[in-house]
């Protein structure tokens, strides 16, 4: 099957060729065009991510055998802290929202840009400055932080490593996240094209909108929490210091009040991407549009009710423990609603295979494993057994890597032709998918087993009984990374040398497929009048594709 369809040149007038006040790299780093900012985020986020992937590989290599293998214990502590900080704050929290949200949210609702283009640019600068501070913390002061990405007090206050700069970096990154969130909420409220009613906006926009609300209402809590840690280290304002009557549990409360909803900042846009890809490749309206839209809002809200399940063994009151356990199970409901609706969308669809669809299917499978193992930890009794073990690490990576990570690649596969105007070759992507899927499960499923056997997380050394599964896991990491490299190389090649994609290679109906690839500056010559429902394949197809092009 071939997707490449139209012509042999990119449209001359696209957002990459638009003349602006600045030239060269300044035309990008000072651009207020949402698409350019999306690309800026893409490049910067992926650069940091590749560093964190290498660190992850090093950690796995260290754990291939008990005792010292390649690094000292202190270095290992710094490695897992860095891996966590970079992956969480620099990749998955901004990830899909800042890259694909920026590039596609305005196009999907028929707008020329976001509501506050200059704030949008500021948000990217905050990201870069915050990231720079976090990276600088590795080489300055007392060296790389060794607290884990959670910065738990009192250790984060007492360690001699450079936690102060790292948490201030996180504070600035928080600004970046907040600015993106408030920009998107305002954009969705104020800038929808005529006819684009609330129940016509694509589901990615619903997901992104819900995410934005979490960014606005949860991030400030983290901001003040890490600021208080910095205050304690810099000005001796020991608000969490148990020696002066402070309550370290209060830190954990505040930290998780942000960091649990933050998990939904990471996963909700991924769910939105899945809801976009499935109808396109099943050539069928999404099943249960409203159910999926409202479940996004429900997840955003329930996300605030469950943070206590991170603290079951911290010495919280029994009352709070059963309340949080009960509430935790509630989140399973909207998540399950989504999964059932996705699967139902495929039923009786005219399914067209593509790498993007394969990654989406993998998302559903891996996310389900992640979700179900989450229930085990939501239940109080079993949680005590699995708490702080590799079971948690496995569960978390099934959600965040198997979920968000796979959806990230799916989104890139799906929208790459729109962003760059060119198509990649399918074969390397299929092979890359196979490697990643096998490698992923080989890497993380053993962690679930290890955790169940009692292997604690963040440990440098382990008893010989755990050896076998650690070896499997490390080998899995190699397979996984070879898949990632294959896909990355093909993307890199296709960016300049891929076949011309045409406006609508997949035969999609949402508004981004109605504009040229890459889209022109300000997206639309004329703001579209939307008269059809989203995912309506009878009325929504852009005219050019309706005549043929990519029907198989």
């Amino acid at each position: 099957m071939s997707y490449g369809s139209a012509g042999n040149a990119l449209p001359l007038n696209n957002f990459r060729t638009t003349k602006t006040r600045y030239s060269g790299i300044f035309a990008w780093i000072f651009s207020t065009d949402h698409k350019r900012i999306g690309i800026l985020y893409l490049i910067s986020i992926l650069s940091f991510t590749s560093v964190a992937i290498v660190i992850g590989l090093l950690m796995r290599l260290e754990l291939i055998a008990p005792g010292e293998t390649i690094v000292k214990p202190e270095t290992y502590n710094a490695l897992f802290t860095l891996h966590g900080v970079i992956m969480i704050f620099l990749f998955v929290v901004p990830g899909l929202q800042a890259i694909f949200g920026n590039f596609f949210l305005p196009i999907l609702i028929g707008a020329r840009d976001v509501a506050f283009p200059r704030l949008n640019l500021l948000s990217w600068w905050c990201y870069m400055i915050g990231a720079f501070m976090a990276v600088l913390a590795l080489f300055t002061g007392g060296g790389a932080p060794d607290t884990g990405w959670t910065f738990y007090v009192p250790y984060s206050v007492r360690t001699s490593t450079n936690v102060s700069l790292a948490v201030l970096g996180v504070f600035v990154l928080g600004f970046s996240s907040i600015l993106t969130g408030l920009n998107f909420v305002t954009t969705v409220h104020r800038m929808r094209a005529p006819g684009m009613s609330w129940f016509r906006i694509p589901l990615f926009v619903w997901a992104s909108y819900s995410t934005s609300w979490i960014q606005i209402l949860a991030t400030p809590v983290l901001a003040i929490t890490v600021l208080l840690v910095a205050f304690e280290r810099l000005f001796a304002i020991g608000i969490f210091d148990p020696a002066s009557g402070g309550d370290p549990l209060m830190y954990q409360h505040l930290f998780w009040i942000y960091s649990h909803p933050a998990v939904y900042i990471m996963i909700l846009p991924a769910m939105g991407v899945v809801s976009e890809i499935l109808p396109t490749f099943a050539r069928k309206p999404i099943f249960g549009y409203k159910a999926i839209a409202f479940s996004s809002l429900a997840i955003a809200f329930f996300g605030y009710l469950v943070w206590g399940h991170h603290m079951f063994t911290s010495g919280m009151s029994d009352t709070a423990r059963w309340i949080f356990s009960l509430l935790t199970f509630l989140v399973a409901i909207p998540s399950a609603i989504k999964v059932f609706n996705w699967v139902a969308t495929l039923y009786k669809g005219a399914i067209q295979m593509s790498p993007a669809l394969l990654f989406t299917m993998a998302f559903i499978f891996l996310f389900s494993i992640g979700g179900l193992t989450g229930l085990i930890q939501g239940a109080l009794a079993t949680s005590i057994h699995t708490h702080d073990t590799y079971f948690v690490v496995g569960h978390f990576h099934y959600i965040i890597f198997g979920g968000t990570g796979f959806a990230f690649i799916a989104a890139l596969l799906y929208w790459f032709p729109k962003m760059y105007g060119r198509l990649y070759r399918m074969k390397p992507m299929y092979i890359g998918w196979g490697l990643m899927f096998v490698g992923f499960n080989a890497l993380y499923f053993p962690m679930l087993i290890l955790g169940w056997m009692g292997m604690p997380r963040r440990y440098y050394d382990y008893i010989p009984e755990f050896h076998f599964w650690h070896v499997v896991s490390t080998i899995g990491s190699w397979i996984l990374v070879s898949g990632i490299i294959l896909i990355a190389v093909e993307f890199f090649r296709a960016r300049k040398h891929g076949e011309i994609a045409g406006d609508n290679p997949w035969g999609g109906v949402t508004l981004e497929w109605h504009v040229p690839s890459p889209p022109p500056h300000e997206n639309f010559d004329v703001i579209p009048q939307v008269t059809w429902d989203t995912y309506d394949f009878e009325h929504g197809l852009p005219e050019k594709t309706a005549e043929g092009a990519s029907h198989p």
Partner: protein
């Protein structure tokens, strides 16, 4: 031209007088030593004062409905966070 979004000057001055009166009230109430109730009284008065500021100085009373819904969502979120944290603190 758009219609004027702001109130007559006099109305703002009235609100200001109200705020001054409530400040006097809260200072007096604190000096009366209600014991346990003094904190509650202080918080209730502070809430009334802040409602005045939000409704009139910040013009919330005359804004579109969406502003009110959003504000309610924000306050509700803060309340949820506080109540759930107290589920731990009160029973620890």
């Amino acid at each position: 031209m758009e219609k004027q979004a702001t109130l007559p000057y006099g109305k703002y001055v009235m609100v200001w007088f109200g705020l001054l009166a409530l400040t006097a009230l809260t200072v007096t109430a604190a000096s009366l030593h209600f014991g346990k109730w003094s904190v509650l009284a202080a918080i209730i008065i502070a809430t009334v004062k802040s409602s005045l500021v939000v409704l009139y100085f910040m013009n919330m009373k005359y804004e579109e409905k969406i502003f009110k819904i959003m504000l309610a969502v924000a306050i509700l979120t803060l309340m949820v966070i506080m109540v759930l944290t107290f589920a731990d603190i009160l029973f620890r």
